[in-house]
Symmetry: C2
Subunit: 275 residues, 2 copies
């Protein structure tokens, strides 16, 4: 997908909502669990009821991978469904892959081509030659882990290297790599105060922000510090939407929960005079 | 697998050889490529011809994942074959996964349970709560990226945090985490001089050493700096063995190439009076 198409969607839907498909079969209604392909059926129902409010979907690959080849077949069905019925929506493989050269290219081909995602999350630890292979596919995007929302982010990410924290060095270095115009970054919503500094380092890059809702991040704070002239944010919600109800009405309630977030986003965009 | 069983294998076979199954269908003989499941058939032939010399196999997950659910079904067949016919051999999922909490547990279950590996390689960037979930399974091991063999390892891994390099901090911090007795580390053979310092930090942990052969690392240097009283090393070779020939005799040549490495390892162990 062209980045301009993602931006168009954001302005059209007045939303920068990404919905995380962390489909946990222990949490889906028994009526869905009894179906032949519950991972697909649950995802499909969520997608159909929320697509009017979302600009991106982010399947969490671990939740498919744990079911072996069958789980990956379900992932393929989800992606085929999304690409056929909602080709305008941006797709993110939340895979956090990271390896070098030829291996990285295989991961890129798996997610960009075999499963036909627009983007994939990537880990930076191995450096430039582990990320650039993900940046060499036309209209495909790597979303690099920068500052994550979990407690363990203080173990290494916020450690000081000279005058910078590691995550700042990751951002600044990677912005120089080949294909960095196709680079986005993961920044946790629980680190809203850091987003301002990150925006100074990369004014134009899209930020994927998990951690709003269940993890306690504030949408208003994130928007205050992270919005740029193109909006430049994808704020993710997973559990708050897909498990808004764990009963038969899960899809309806997911739609309602995502509409609530979309309306909050619309207000923010109007207040900032971005729409 | 119990760690004592891995140690027994090492002394029994006089070998600390790990064989990387980076099965590239562009490099396998056309006779294999024409078969119904070439990923499996090639792996099986390599395993059967090299198992006498190797103590571990390390399938590179990207090379299976790139073929979608079919690729993962091939991986399952490889693992079922290995576990049935060579249950004494240690298995490593070279997956370099890294995510938090529930997601990490799903990845762990995928590789420890669904595919029945003994271990998985894991990336440290997200910190403690992204690694500990991989350390909470009985007789299953996480192999943490520390200092990798690629050029990009200098981007972040060797950057100084206070008086330590990042990879040293990763090693020292992780050695305090819950379940760290089930933690091993990836250290590139091209960084042989650093292995001595790493041994001081973690005298007892196993080190998985890629980069001997094709990437230019020296087995003698690695052994000099890395051996401990239990041997404590798994030295990996992938391309040098599995593509020793790209013709019909690939399996025979792989056997010969692995025997050559095993003999070198035996000599090193004898010289060090470890056997």
């Amino acid at each position: 997908m062209k980045i301009s198409a993602l931006k168009n969607q954001i302005f059209l839907k007045k939303s920068f909502l990404c919905i995380g498909l962390d489909v946990d079969l222990d949490k889906v209604p028994s009526s869905v669990k009894a179906m032949e392909d519950p991972l697909f059926e649950f995802s499909k129902a969520i997608i159909d009821s929320t697509a009017a409010y979302a600009v991106a979907y982010k399947p969490n690959i671990a939740f498919f991978e744990t079911y072996g080849s069958q789980g990956m077949a379900s992932l393929k069905r989800v992606m085929d469904y999304l690409n056929k019925n909602y080709p305008e929506i941006f797709t993110i493989a939340d895979a956090k892959r990271g390896d070098i050269g030829n291996t990285a290219t295989r991961y890129a081909k798996a997610y960009y081509e075999t499963y036909n995602f627009d983007s994939i999350t990537v880990a930076p630890y191995m450096g430039k030659d582990s990320v650039e292979p993900f940046l060499s596919f036309k209209e495909k995007y790597a979303i690099l882990l920068a500052l994550t929302s979990n407690v363990g982010s203080s173990d290494f990410q916020t450690q000081k290297i000279g005058t910078q924290m590691l995550y700042e060095k990751v951002i600044q270095s990677s912005a120089q790599w080949k294909g960095s115009d196709r680079l986005m970054y993961v920044v946790g919503a629980t680190k809203a105060s850091a987003i301002k500094g990150i925006r100074n380092l990369i004014p134009n890059a899209f930020l994927l922000i998990p951690g709003v809702g269940a993890q306690g991040g504030s949408l208003a704070e994130v928007a205050k510090n992270g919005l740029n002239k193109d909006v430049g944010l994808l704020v993710n919600s997973s559990r708050g939407i897909i498990y808004a109800s764990t009963d038969k009405d899960f899809a309806i309630k997911a739609g309602t929960a995502s509409e609530v977030l979309q309306k909050q986003m619309q207000q923010i965009l109007e207040k900032k005079q971005l729409i």
